[in-house]
Amino acid sequence: MTLVILTKGIDLSVGSMLAFAGAVTAGLLKFGIEIPSVNTFVGFTVFGAILAGLLVGGALGTFNGWMITKFKVPPFVATLAMLTIARGATMLWTGGFPITGLGDSFAFIGTGWFLGIPMPVWIMAIVVAFAIILTKKTVFGRHIYAIGGNESAARLSGINIKKVKIWVYAIAGILAAVGGIILTSRLDSAQPNAGMSYELDSIAAVVIGGTSLSGGRGSIMGTVQGALIIGVLNSGRSPFERVPFLGSR
């Protein structure tokens, strides 16, 4: 989300993409794909199912980017549409029921520990490191800041705006899928209504972390701090949940 907002965009579909990618991963892992015309059953390994989930996230994100750059649809509108599309696709894929019982090896991703640290923390550390390098040490990263700062100037400087934006939304989709896979693994269940309102938490974390909604300014570490603040606020809210309308969202 930070990369998207840095380009002066927004992605309202991350919660729905998260749910769909998680459901696809769980569905392929549990049920595979039947191809009656060639009498073949395609079963998926944990690696294969995760890869498929990430591809789905990437494809949806790419579609967002394509709609925004090709048809000049405002990011708010394009991703709002994707929010509905991906949620509907999740309902279709799951039939409205949770997909459960995904096995111990898949559960390890969300609930396992490595060197005394939970696996999701390792995954977050890798993603954060990747994002920091991407934004601070690569030409692509500088292009993201340039587009957010002044898109016209960036275009006149020879930056391929469309390509950068499509990549940014694709990365957002892939990372939403990563979240969906971790969530599905933690719950050992792909819920059709998973990730509801996660886009708001995500945007809040980015903004609290100091990234400007006008684009061009912000940092990944700021977003990490914003996410920690949101996490603390969510956890700290729990004691109030016994009071109706005070602790609830």
């Binding site: 009498n39 059953f41 294969g48 029921f97 459960t100």
Partner: protein, 206 residues
């Protein structure tokens, strides 16, 4: 030119390796056959459990249970209760003997040896107390939550249709009843004075 060729060759090899490790192919008809063999019949599963496993099902004496939960509800339920996930509702299988003191619309009241009373549910047989209390089924073993939930539905149906009616025909105030059944205790609202047992076995001592 050579650089591009090398790049695309490496990408192709990576895709092939990833694909090879991602999927397994097998004949669909064989997979379908094995799936059909494994179609879950909740009614048969529940009937088999009621017919064959109830007598030997480990159970706690109800008097012991009541005294333990009155002393240390949280500790006892945490140590001996069975629950699904992080629920506050713990399930137990109990057994004991009591005397019918009254027959209400929804339950039969039994007075136990220690003068305490419990209710044997005779109406509104719902919930997962039998399935979860007996640990007869693990959610991870089922294709979907519907199969898992249907076990409870069928167990409750059997209790409603086959266990309660013959008992209600014969039972009267003053009868001594031997029972075994499941109970749910919610630690946030235990209501230990009016625990309602879903019966698995009801026998009137002649």
């Amino acid at each position: 030119m050579m650089g591009k060729l090398l790049k695309y060759s490496i990408i192709t090899i990576i895709i092939l390796i990833a694909g090879y490790n991602s999927v397994t192919l097998s004949p669909l008809d064989e997979v379908k056959k094995s799936q059909n063999d494994a179609v879950f019949n909740a009614r048969a599963y529940a009937e088999n459990f009621i017919s064959n496993d109830v007598t030997s099902l480990p159970a706690t004496e109800v008097t012991e249970f009541l005294s333990q939960i009155s002393e240390d509800l949280d500790g006892y339920t945490e140590q001996y209760g069975k629950r699904l996930g992080i629920s506050d509702a713990y399930n137990f299988i109990l057994q004991g003997t009591g005397t019918v003191s009254s027959m209400e619309e929804e339950y039969v009241n039994l007075i136990l040896e220690n003068e305490k009373s419990i209710h044997i549910a005779t109406d509104f047989i719902f919930g997962n107390a039998i399935r979860d209390g007996s640990a007869m089924a693990d959610i991870g073993d089922y294709q979907n939550t519907m199969d898992f939930n249907s076990i409870s539905v069928e167990l409750n149906n059997i209790v409603r249709e086959e266990i309660i009616p013959p008992f209600m025909k014969k039972a009267k105030v003053g009868d001594e009843v031997l029972f075994k059944g499941a109970v749910t205790v919610d630690v946030t609202d235990p209501q230990s004075d009016s625990l309602k047992i879903i019966p698995l076995l009801l026998k009137i001592n002649e």
